[in-house]
């Protein structure tokens, strides 16, 4: 009887386990949660040639059954607990054939748990190129007839044989253990010394076994030669950093030039869709909710997809080729004084484009404290959504002067804001280093894989997974907040909004210009008298020391969801168009704005710099909060993050305004 219904995939990192998983399940994959922890549960469905469906669980990569990180703990907890509903009927152990000794350690541990298993020798082509020939029959015999099968998952070779084997699989009779230590006495995860003794015993036995199984010829593959040549360059004190900078430059160039086109398109489509809803559906509250709340909210989610896709494409490519591990290698020492490690570098730098994919990229930081600190400080990096806010304010308050004939002051201010972001992120990391508690010391015992061509199937599946994760998981939170903000911006107490709108004089002439002006005035009246308008006025005493009036207060609240909304809100508040680069009316209007009590201009160098610093530090991005919630699986961290960033923003803006005014 074939009673195999649940399979688990286990293997070392870099053993090509995900390739095997992707080959077995294709796009029939789901990402779920393990209860109580932040590790993602990847599962899928495998269709056997006979039509039978088997569920496949892709467990986190690990070198040993004994866990050294939260991810690895999942493997130990599942495989040592037969009462767990996910406990597999069969374990497929994927090993890297070019490094059988180290990879077999995990296999012998699982074998000694007496869970039925199949040994998959992956990258068999690479082994052959390195002069390694493995005798599958002898290897199988050494483990009481455990099926051993050679595959090249990258090309899909051997996968159909593996499926055949699974169809015909019969659970074998019990077998003697590989090492003398009986499984019942396996070391507890806390007993380090016993683990070391056991692991050594396993390795020594594997080392006596391997000469019988493996024939090696002294031969070095072209790939290994290329790897050692490339490494000389990539870790070179000058060339190494130059290459890294060049790659970063390329990535950002691509993101800024390529993402803008689909982003503008998405913007247009959702504007049209919103207008279409208004035109087609009967006027009323539900139509307004749909046209002004839900559709723009959805647009606010989808607009991030191009950036996330592009940035993740590059991150996955860096990982797939093996270059990412070298970045970690050359940057680790530089990051350590800040409480971060080399693995934090790429997420942090990605934050300059967008914090959302950057935070999603912290997954491969296996030390929880280092990962949490990276997540907490990444939103301080100056992301692309801050740019429209900076550009408007710089155009408004910074004089068009040159220092020494070359350096433009406006450009310097912008550069300064980017530097301030980096500085704030690193300083915050140092502070968090002392606040966040950690049981384990951070370590960097990291494998530097040989360089490889990317496996495109893995690349596309990873991209698809990340986009789906963002749109569905973060999308829910973003939609909820957008709808709440829309309600607050559209309604006020009693008939306040309606009265204010009715008070706007209806134009006598009905030409396009007059109607547009009228519509803008209506929007201004509506926003000013809505709950958000009242809230903006209510917080005026709090933000007055920063140099802001209640109108800025309104914009701060509406842009709580997304920073770039600031520009649109300013346009609504002053009843002008928001395209300030084409049409100067927004800047002219803001420039002439005076404080009714003092009669002085509202937007001065002092209040402008103060406002820019506020946007440099404040969270003001619900998409980031949603993704931090998703990645830390609790509201605790996104709330702490928002609190510390807002306080930092307030203090910085306060000091700047008081010093400059």
């Amino acid at each position: 009887m074939n009673k195999i219904e649940k399979i688990a995939l286990v293997g070392n990192p870099n053993s090509g386990k995900s390739s095997v998983f992707n080959q077995l399940t294709g796009l029939n994959q789901q990402v779920g949660n393990y209860p109580g922890i932040t590790v993602d549960k990847k599962s899928g469905t495998l269709k056997l040639p006979d039509g039978k469906k088997i569920s496949v669980l892709d467990l986190p990569g690990t070198y040993s059954l004994y866990p050294r990180s939260e991810d690895e703990r999942v493997v130990f907890d599942l495989l040592t607990d037969p009462s767990n509903p996910d406990f597999p009927d069969l374990v497929i152990v994927v090993v890297d054939s070019t490094n059988l000794e180290r990879n077999l350690l995990l296999f012998t541990q699982i074998y000694d748990l007496h869970i039925p298993c199949v040994l998959v020798l992956n990258m068999i082509d690479m082994a052959a190129k390195n002069g390694i020939a493995i005798d599958n029959a002898i290897l199988s015999d050494a483990f009481s007839g455990t099926p051993v099968i050679s595959v090249n998952a990258r090309k899909g070779e051997g996968i159909s044989e593996l499926k055949q084997l699974l169809s015909a699989y019969q659970i074998p009779a019990s077998h003697p253990a590989f090492i003398a230590t009986p499984v019942a006495q396996m070391a507890s995860p806390a007993d380090d010394a016993a683990q070391v003794a056991e692991t050594k015993e396993r390795y020594l036995k594997i080392r006596t076994l391997l000469p019988l199984v493996v024939k090696t010829k002294p031969q070095v593959s072209l790939n290994r030669k290329i790897t050692s040549r490339l490494d000389q360059l990539v870790v070179h004190p000058i060339a190494g950093y130059a290459i890294f900078l060049a790659i970063l430059f390329l990535i950002f160039q691509a993101i800024y030039s390529l993402a803008e086109i689909p982003m503008n398109l998405i913007d247009e489509v959702f504007l049209v869709l919103s207008q279409w809803c208004k035109d087609v559906l009967p006027a009323g509250v539900l139509t307004d909710l749909l046209a002004e709340g839900i559709v723009p909210g959805l647009g606010g989610v989808v607009i991030f997809v191009p950036q996330i896709t592009l940035l993740f494409l590059f991150i996955v490519l860096l990982e797939e080729t093996g270059y990412m591990a070298r970045v970690v290698f050359i940057m680790d020492k530089i990051m350590r004084p800040f409480g971060l490690n080399g693995k934090s570098v790429v997420p942090l730098i990605s934050g300059v484009a967008c914090a959302i994919p950057a935070i999603m990229a912290t997954r491969n930081i296996d030390h929880w404290k280092d990962r949490l600190i990276t997540i907490m400080v990444t939103p301080l990096m100056s992301c692309s959504a801050r740019l429209p806010v900076y550009t408007l304010l710089i155009a408004l308050v910074v004089p068009d002067q040159r220092i020494g004939g070359i350096m433009n002051v406006k450009g310097l201010v912008l550069l300064g804001l980017y530097l301030v972001g980096v500085l704030a992120a690193l300083t915050a990391a140092v502070v968090f280093r002392y606040i966040v508690k950690s049981e384990r010391k951070s370590f960097l015992v990291l494998e530097l894989p040989h360089y490889k061509m990317p496996r495109w199937k893995n690349v596309w599946i990873t991209l698809w997974e990340k986009i789906r994760l963002f749109v569905w998981e973060a999308g829910k939170v973003i939609m909820a907040i957008s709808i709440i903000l829309w309600v607050l911006a559209s309604y006020g107490p009693g008939y306040r909004v309606r009265k204010a709108v009715e008070a706007v004089p209806v134009p006598v002439e009905t030409d396009a210009v007059a109607m547009e002006t009228y519509e803008r005035q209506v929007n201004t009246a509506r926003l000013e008298n809505s709950w958000i308008g009242l809230l903006g006025k209510g917080i005026e005493p709090v933000i007055a020391p920063l140099g802001y009036d209640w109108k800025i207060g309104i914009a701060l609240i509406t842009s709580f969801a997304a920073r770039e909304v600031f520009v649109g809100s300013m346009a609504t508040i002053y009843s002008v168009g928001e395209d300030f680069e084409e049409d100067a009316s927004l800047i002219d209007r803001m420039r002439s704005e005076q404080n009714p009590r003092t009669g002085k201009a509202v937007y001065t160098l002092a209040s402008g710099i103060s406002l820019m610093l506020f946007y440099a530090f404040a969270m003001q991005c619900m998409s980031t909060m949603a993704i931090v919630y998703r990645e830390t699986k609790s509201w605790k961290w996104p709330l702490i993050q928002m609190a510390f960033m807002t306080i930092l923003a307030y203090i910085a803006a306060f000091i700047a305004y008081q010093l400059l005014s």
């Binding site: 000794e101 070391v196 692991t199 870790v235 591990a325 290698f329 050359i330 020492k333 960097l444 990291l446």
Partner: protein, 77 residues
Amino acid sequence: MITQRLDKYRINQMAEISTVVQNSLTAKLTDMGLFSGKKIRVLFRAPLGDPIAVDVEGYILSLRLDEAAMIQVTPVE
């Protein structure tokens, strides 16, 4: 026999691990195949001297200096 700490060891010189200091990281190092008797070779250092990359019988492992300092090695001719 003269033993040396791996963090101070010369680049590209074969070495055999004699002992690994016992602390909380030993289990991880053993998992990665670093135990007495294993033949290793320092391949290169990061630009700032830390971490280092070590060849462990066919695969490349990076270790911080304080991690490498736990490993005592003897030269292999």
